[in-house]
């Protein structure tokens, strides 16, 4: 139905796409997979009319088209959920959902119809928030839901989902898949991008693999398995991320007692030992990120204490937190994690400036070398440390954020969705880095909505629901069923 052939696209000196070919079929879901920076989002932007290809051809229903802008794409029946959050904070949820075609009466926007339509869409996705709320009040996950509702709100013939589930927990993801199946049933062609193979296998009919901006293979999904796909993506086999690990020591490094903040979370207590990974699992809106914010001094708590090495500490600001050896990799890398308009070197060095320049005076070559070391050890795909972070692919941006904190050599690393949007290879690398980190006697608090990740990596799992702790599960007791039950009603 939609066919892109031999697409080429470069930015400055970077060849994002060399020779990309992609075919979507009506009534089928095609999964597009590839490493970070393989060019997946770039081709999505080309389909959406946001970029013009340097060369190549796009055919829709057999006819060659040139997609001039987003509006044009829309009018061709192409509907897209972009990887980056593209929500209007200042507009209501309803208007966000209907932004492409606001219902009109007598040439005037009809707010009543708009609200109705938004309500219907949100109900389909099992979302309960008020369509009149300004979208700025939503959490990042909810914003993604809004974005998905927007894409579904149209008689789309081609639906493109660029890592839609990265920010969602399985519940919302299931809703999305249900609707996607419904749409394919109605003859819609779907392009689905994800780094999670279980989703790919459960949803897709076909697959297509990109490597370094070129299509390397495509076919029916039931003819392949994970290992084959991984080999195609990476060009080599990847060992599954290590799960065997040394037992954590008995000494507590971080202890949290009865942390509460009005309207966000209530009576949260947990402890993390040296050499331990504590997973925090919950549905979207469970308040996990808020707890992390409070721990890192980004917000104040109403009651409760934080102890490090058994000593109560006051953490009133991130500066305090960093001084006490904490580090926080936030969930929204675009606005909170990375500084997109600065170089990789500037980003990586920022938290470590004190160590890099004890006498206040900075040296550029020292910073570059420092950054290069971390670029290498996390294998960030980039021409060099002077590259702007904004020009990196999503996954590589995430690696930069990780690098900047690991470089600071913290004792307690709090990570919020650390592998959101990261490909298998990189994910294994990140996991390895985290294991290595705890092996030195440090501790990790990992917030994740990805159940396999939580189960695989954590020594213990804290489950939260609606701002409250629902229990801490030891490794042995942490079965998927038990955790999901604790995270949902029941």
């Amino acid at each position: 139905m939609l066919r892109l052939a031999n697409i080429r696209k470069s930015f400055g000196g970077v060849h994002a796409l060399r020779d990309a070919t992609l075919t979507l079929h009506a009534g089928e879901v095609t999964a597009l997979i590839g490493e970070n920076g393989a060019g997946k989002s770039t081709i999505v932007r080309i389909i959406g009319g946001l970029h013009q290809p340097d060369a190549g051809e796009i055919q829709l229903d057999g006819r060659t088209v040139r997609i001039t802008d987003a509006h044009h794409a829309r009018s061709l029946g192409i509907s897209i959920v972009h990887q980056e959050c593209v929500v209007f904070d200042n507009l209501s949820v309803a208007e966000n959902i209907c932004i492409h075609a606001r219902p009109q009466r007598h040439g005037l926007v009809s707010w009543r119809q708009m609200r109705e339509r938004a309500k219907t869409m949100l109900r389909q996705l099992d979302a309960t928030f008020d369509p009149d709320l300004p979208a700025g009040r939503l959490s990042i996950a909810q914003k993604h839901i809004v974005q998905i509702a927007r894409a579904l709100d149209s008689d789309a013939r081609v639906l493109v989902l660029d890592e839609p589930t990265a920010a969602l927990s399985h519940r919302e993801a299931e809703d999305l898949f249900r609707i996607t199946r419904q749409l394919t049933g109605d003859g819609c062609a779907v392009l689905f991008i994800s780094h999670r193979f279980e989703e790919v296998f459960s949803l897709a009919h076909r697959y297509s693999v990109f490597r370094d901006g070129a299509a390397v293979d495509a076919g029916r999904i039931d003819e392949v398995d994970t290992n084959v796909l991984v080999k195609l993506m990476v060009g080599r086999a990847v060992e599954p991320s290590v799960s065997g690990h040394a037992a954590p020591s008995e000494t507590e490094l971080l202890r949290v007692e009865g942390l509460s903040r009005r309207g966000e979370f209530n009576g949260i207590s947990f402890s993390v030992r040296r050499g331990e990974v504590l997973g925090i699992y919950g549905l979207v809106g469970a308040g996990r990120s808020e707890v992390a914010h409070a721990l890192f001094g980004l917000s104040t708590v109403d009651s409760g204490r934080i102890l490090i090495d058994g000593m109560p500490v006051t953490i009133a600001s991130p500066t305090d937190a960093v001084r006490h050896g904490l580090a926080y990799v936030p969930e929204d890398r675009q606005t909170e994690g990375a500084i997109l308009s600065l170089s990789i070197a500037a980003n990586v060095c920022l938290p470590s400036l004190q160590a890099l320049a004890p006498q206040v005076i900075c040296k550029r070559d020292r910073e570059s070398a420092f950054a290069q070391k971390w670029i290498d050890s996390l294998s960030v795909k980039t021409p060099g440390p002077d590259q702007l972070v904004g020009a990196l692919s999503g996954g590589n941006q995430q690696k930069v954020v990780l690098a900047k904190w690991l470089a600071r050599q913290p004792r307690i690393l709090i990570v919020d969705e650390p592998t959101k949007g990261i490909d298998v290879g990189a994910k294994a690398a990140v996991h390895a880095v985290m294991r290595e980190f705890v092996a030195k006697g440090h501790a990790v608090v990992m917030i994740s909505s990805e159940l396999p990740e939580v189960l695989n990596l954590s020594d213990r799992v804290l489950v939260m629901r609606r701002g409250r702790a629902r229990g801490v599960f030891e490794r042995e007791a942490a079965t998927p069923e038990a955790i999901v039950r604790a995270a949902t009603d029941a």
Partner: protein, 317 residues
């Protein structure tokens, strides 16, 4: 790639500066005269004293429109003190302290009060000058000691004014801080993305407060110099300077979006604007006609690189 952009901007300014010297020395015989050039420096020194710290504020993503108001306030404070017989040293201290206090008020509004800086300083702009008017009314304060008057009118080696020396020293300080220290790195980070900077453990609000305080204090310093040069204080002193100073900073290549800009650029822009204005008035071109040139220059300096960029991209197939 970044270095190239940096160079392009500086070279634009350098070109403008050289062009000014060539054109003016061709058009008027009085231009290339040591005494004249020495006089010409006065047309930018006091503004440059403020432009330098203000550049840091703008690079960190804020703006301060109240600087001229601070000059009026500090000048009035000094005038009142002088009327009480405070000696020169005390007057300078009072000027600096008043500026510092005003800067801290701005900083507090922006950090503690969380008011966007442009809004806060539009308010304090009227507030500070308003206090000056309220205190002074139609009076004039001019009982300054002779040694005080000497500050703004004195010279080193007969030709280099104290004011110019102060500008050079300040530029060195600002340049080193911005380009060679970790504080400078943090300033760029804050200007590029304050949220991410805060999440990286940078004490964002402390930096912003300090920068506003520094700008306030330098405005106080400018008030000392200007008051000393005028030898009198009226509440209308330095009226309208805020926009001129901001224009100077922007012309220096500092991005009003924050995160971009260099001190050499700002310094060159200050000199270029000062010489430009002085040169045109040497040619007896009315100031208002001059404003056409200045406006066009301002736009051209940002537009030429932008057009170049477009052509470069457009040229590639």
């Amino acid at each position: 790639m970044k270095a190239a952009a940096w160079l392009r901007w500086e070279s634009m300014l350098a070109l403008v500066l050289v062009g000014e010297f060539v054109v003016f020395s061709m058009l008027t015989p009085y231009f290339l005269d040591p005494l004249t050039l020495s006089d010409a420096t006065f047309s930018f020194t006091e503004r440059a004293v403020i432009a330098l710290p203000l550049a840091l504020v703008i690079i960190s993503g804020d703006i301060d429109i109240s600087v001229a108001g601070i000059i009026a306030l500090a000048s009035v404070a000094m005038g009142l003190a002088a009327a009480e017989g405070v000696p020169t040293g005390g007057l300078v201290a009072i000027g600096l302290a008043t500026g510092l206090a005003a800067g801290i008020i701005n900083g507090a509004l922006v950090t503690i009060g969380r008011v966007p800086s442009i809004v806060a300083t539009i308010g304090t702009m009227s507030l500070f000058r308003g206090i000056a008017y309220a205190v002074l009314g139609d009076r004039v304060l001019k009982n300054y000691p002779a040694s005080f008057t000497h500050l703004g009118q004195g010279y080193v080696f007969g030709l280099v004014s104290y004011e110019l020396c102060i500008v050079v020293v300040l530029a060195l300080i600002a340049g080193v801080v911005l380009h060679f220290t970790r504080w400078g790195r943090c300033i760029y980070a804050i200007g590029s993305n304050p949220v991410a900077a805060r999440f990286s453990g940078v004490a964002v609000n402390r930096y912003r407060l300090m920068l506003f305080a520094a700008t306030g204090m330098c405005s106080g310093l400018a008030a000392v110099l200007l008051t000393s040069r005028l030898g009198s204080t009226r509440p209308s002193i330095a009226q309208g300077w805020e926009l001129e100073i901001i224009a100077m900073v922007i012309l220096g290549g500092v991005s009003v979006w924050g995160g971009k800009g260099t001190i050499p650029g700002v310094l060159m822009a200050a000199v270029a604007l000062g010489i430009f204005g002085f040169g045109l008035s040497l040619l007896n071109i009315p100031g208002i006609v001059m404003s056409i040139f200045v406006g066009a220059l301002l736009i051209a300096v940002v537009a030429v690189p932008a057009i170049g960029e477009r052509l470069r991209i457009g040229a590639r197939p």
